[in-house]
């Protein structure tokens, strides 16, 4: 027990959770905490907007596998975090959001909560549906236990954001603080070990299957189960499709990799998924963008569904064998059981079908004079080392990246899959770079998305966090423009952004490096320059506004009914 202020107790509690960085913006209701940053081991990174702080912390979490921490003041600071928190919630990312709050009492302050005080917002009420859990502190003595519990909840089971709201008087009051372990949550017991009976049943189905397929979701990455996934796939000689969130869980250059499924999925993945006779789905929630029309999704297959969140089982699709467990534990147990009864399979009619489908449906990029996203992204893969981290914005840039940029390792492809948050990729790349300073980090952006958080150039330059932003610049909100072309007879409405700003000049205005590439050769040169640059580089790549992302599953259709070429 030591006597100290709530502010000091908070930072010390965070240090004890091995927090090394906080992305935030201060404000009146956080002044007592910020007064202590100078004395703390924790690095504070001052962002330019709270949304950027939340996405940066999220990017840090996804790249590192540790919880990311963001902080904002009461009222508008807290509400500006909301998009970032919702984004982390949808993609099951372990985010800790700390918010200042108006005083709840105290010696020199009156009780202000609930009285519409200056910069007061009911952030607990606002974030209840988009957090795994949230807390409002009542006393400084509660801080260590609350922080421990928050990190435990955020990082275990199905991870997710947890918010701690800290009234200003709790930060200033001095109390006896006890830092001993005090996690006690009787209402929270994630199931990590699979039920042996379910494993036995699943093994039977997989052993007998002639055309088994594995669908790996984001849960495989979260539980660091990529080695087990590879082992399972090679034992069964089962091809692996990933969901968009699962991209990176399986090396996409592997002969058994089919790429990702979904509305803009790889046609090989979409087609073969509908031909399989057994599906092993791991760590996926079968989102509508992944499955397309549910009636035809994987229709002939016996379905095995592994998820740590029991509520995901049977929520969107009915399955034959549910397994509530951590992806890694389940894959280990399944492999152990199958390895006993199966000899490693060789080539079969099914593996031949995989090879033939890949050759037929994934032709190489045509060489054209005009700079096309497919060729550009395939070129980018060649220019980057295997362990480079790529983030994306949302829209066409994201789907092109999903289709044509091969992710080779887990936690190297970071994108807003569930919420689809434009403006996520750039701040997330800053967070990822902080987590992995020795690896190149590249944000594949569109001009529309980049405009939404471009001000974080200030953060990346002043805090010395060099990343590379590739702006596929078509001067429109490309994905909605594509939908207007395809489904609204080409009636463009409110999609044209004009060719401002000049992104090269914008970068320069922030003290970053701005480059422009109009051909593959120029692009390669620009990326090489950027990889050597010690400041953030923005590479502006003008492309045609008429460019569509194809193939595509029209809304309401089955995923094997794609239109357009790969």
């Amino acid at each position: 027990m030591t006597k100290m202020s709530g502010a000091k107790a908070l930072l010390e509690s965070l240090e004890r959770q091995n927090v090394d960085v906080i992305f935030g913006i201060l404000g009146g209701a956080l002044l007592p905490i910020y007064d202590h940053f100078g004395k703390s081991k924790i690095r504070h990174i001052l962002c330019r907007h709270e949304q950027g702080a939340a996405h940066a912390a999220d990017g840090y979490a996804r790249a590192s596998g540790k919880a990311g921490v963001c902080m904002a003041t009461s009222g508008p600071g807290a509400t500006n975090l909301v998009t970032g928190i919702a984004n982390a919630y949808m993609d099951s990312s372990p985010l800790i959001a700390l918010t200042g709050q108006v005083p709840s009492g105290g010696v020199n302050t009156s009780y202000m909560i609930g009285r519409d005080a200056f910069q007061e917002a009911d952030i607990i009420g606002i974030t209840t549906p988009i957090t795994k859990h949230n807390f409002q502190l009542r006393a400084a003595a509660e801080i260590p236990k609350t922080v421990q519990t928050a990190f435990y909840i955020a990082t275990t089971g199905r991870p997710g954001p947890v918010l701690i709201d800290i009234p200003k008087n709790v930060q200033t009051e001095v109390e006896e603080i006890d830092f001993s372990n005090g996690i006690q949550i009787r209402g929270y017991k994630p199931t990590t070990n699979p039920h042996p009976l379910q494993i036995r049943k699943a093994a039977e189905v997989l052993a007998e299957a002639e055309r088994p397929i594995i669908l790996a979701g984001g849960g495989v990455i979260t539980s660091n189960a990529s080695p087990e996934l590879l082992q399972m796939s090679e034992l069964l000689m089962a091809p692996v499709a990933t969901t968009f969130m699962g991209k990176g869980s399986f090396p996409e250059t592997h002969p058994l990799s089919l790429g990702s499924i979904g509305m803009h999925g790889n046609p090989v993945a979409n087609k073969l998924l509908c031909e399989a006779d057994a599906l092993l789905a791991v760590g996926t929630r079968f989102s509508d963008r992944s499955t397309g029309n549910l009636d035809s999704f994987c229709a002939p297959a016996k379905k095995i569904h592994v998820d740590i969140d029991s509520a995901e089982i049977g929520k969107n699709i009915d399955v034959d064998i549910p397994i509530v467990a951590d992806a890694k534990e389940a894959l280990k147990a399944l492999h152990e059981r199958l390895a006993k009864q199966l000899k490693k399979k060789g080539t079969s009619a099914w593996t031949k079908r995989v090879k033939e489908a890949k050759e037929q449906l994934n032709p190489p990029a045509k060489s054209t004079k005009e700079l096309k996203p497919k060729a550009l992204l395939q070129q980018l893969r060649k220019l980057l080392p295997e362990n480079a981290i790529v983030t994306t914005e949302v829209g066409q840039n994201q789907m092109w990246a999903a289709l044509y940029f091969n992710a080779l390792k887990p936690r190297t492809f970071i994108s807003s899959g569930g919420l689809g948050t434009m403006g996520f990729g750039f701040p997330a790349s800053i967070g990822a770079k902080v987590a992995c300073p020795d690896r190149p980090v590249v944000d594949i952006a569109g001009d529309g998305s980049f405009r939404m958080t471009e001000h974080e150039l200030g953060t990346s330059v002043t805090e010395d966090i060099p990343v590379i932003v590739i702006v596929l610049n078509n001067s429109v909100l490309g994905m909605v423009a594509q939908w207007q072309r395809m489904f609204y007879k080409g009636r463009y409405s409110a999609v044209k952004l004009g060719s401002v700003p000049d992104f090269v000049k914008l970068a320069e205005a922030y003290g970053a490096l701005g480059l422009r590439a109009r051909s593959i050769a120029e692009f390669a040169k620009a990326v090489k320059t950027a990889l050597k640059s010690d400041v953030t580089t923005v590479i502006d790549v003008p492309i045609s506004m008429e460019e569509d992302v194809t193939p595509m599953v029209p809304p309401g259709c089955g995923i094997n009914k794609q239109v357009g070429d790969y």
Binding site: I124, T128, H133, I153, I185, R186, G187, K315
Partner: protein, 171 residues
């Protein structure tokens, strides 16, 4: 969610602290589940409250409700109560318009048949307390309609399993 199912009863033990009712109600709203009635009160363990929630929906909906409730950190335990194995009670207070003496004695007779009680009397009205299953209360209310119901307050049901089965958290 389909609304073609029957009313089902869920009992939950929750942490007895502020904000828990909000998070439960919020989850129902967000997921599009419909609460028919909800009662909350203390239990034999002072740090726990018990919620009895009746939900209208099919099997699949109910399964999701239970799973989603289980995900809430402050919900300690959730159980579905099977209608054939539970005792349910609801309390209703009914103010009936009976200025006429003949009607008044008829109403009092009904109250006796239903084992209710008259808890307040005025020249114009009787206030009746009645306890029982929701069906019993519905039947009584049907009778009272002929006299004119001035005001009605129902608590919603509360329920326990029959026999030794119980929902408890052993410390």
């Amino acid at each position: 969610m389909e609304k073609n199912g029957k009313t089902k009863v869920i009992a939950a033990l929750v942490e007895n602290k502020p904000g828990v009712l909000h998070s439960v109600a919020n989850m129902f709203r967000r997921r599009g589940f419909n609460i028919e009635s909800i009662t909350v009160g203390r239990t034999e363990q002072e740090d726990l409250s018990r919620m009895t929630i009746t939900v209208n929906g099919d099997e699949k909906t109910l399964e999701q409700v239970v799973k989603q409730m289980n995900k809430l950190i402050d919900v300690v335990k959730v159980s579905r109560l099977e209608p054939e194995n539970i005792v349910t009670r609801e309390l209703a207070l009914i103010k009936v318009n009976v200025p006429d003496v003949k009607n008044r004695s008829d109403v009092i007779n009904c109250v006796e048949v239903f084992r209710g009680r008259v808890v307040d009397v005025s020249p114009e009205s009787l206030t009746i307390e009645i306890t029982g299953t929701p069906d019993k209360i519905d039947a009584f209310l049907n009778l009272m309609k002929t006299y004119g119901i001035m005001e009605l307050a129902r608590t919603g049901i509360t329920a326990l399993s029959r026999g030794v089965r119980s929902i408890r958290i052993d410390e």
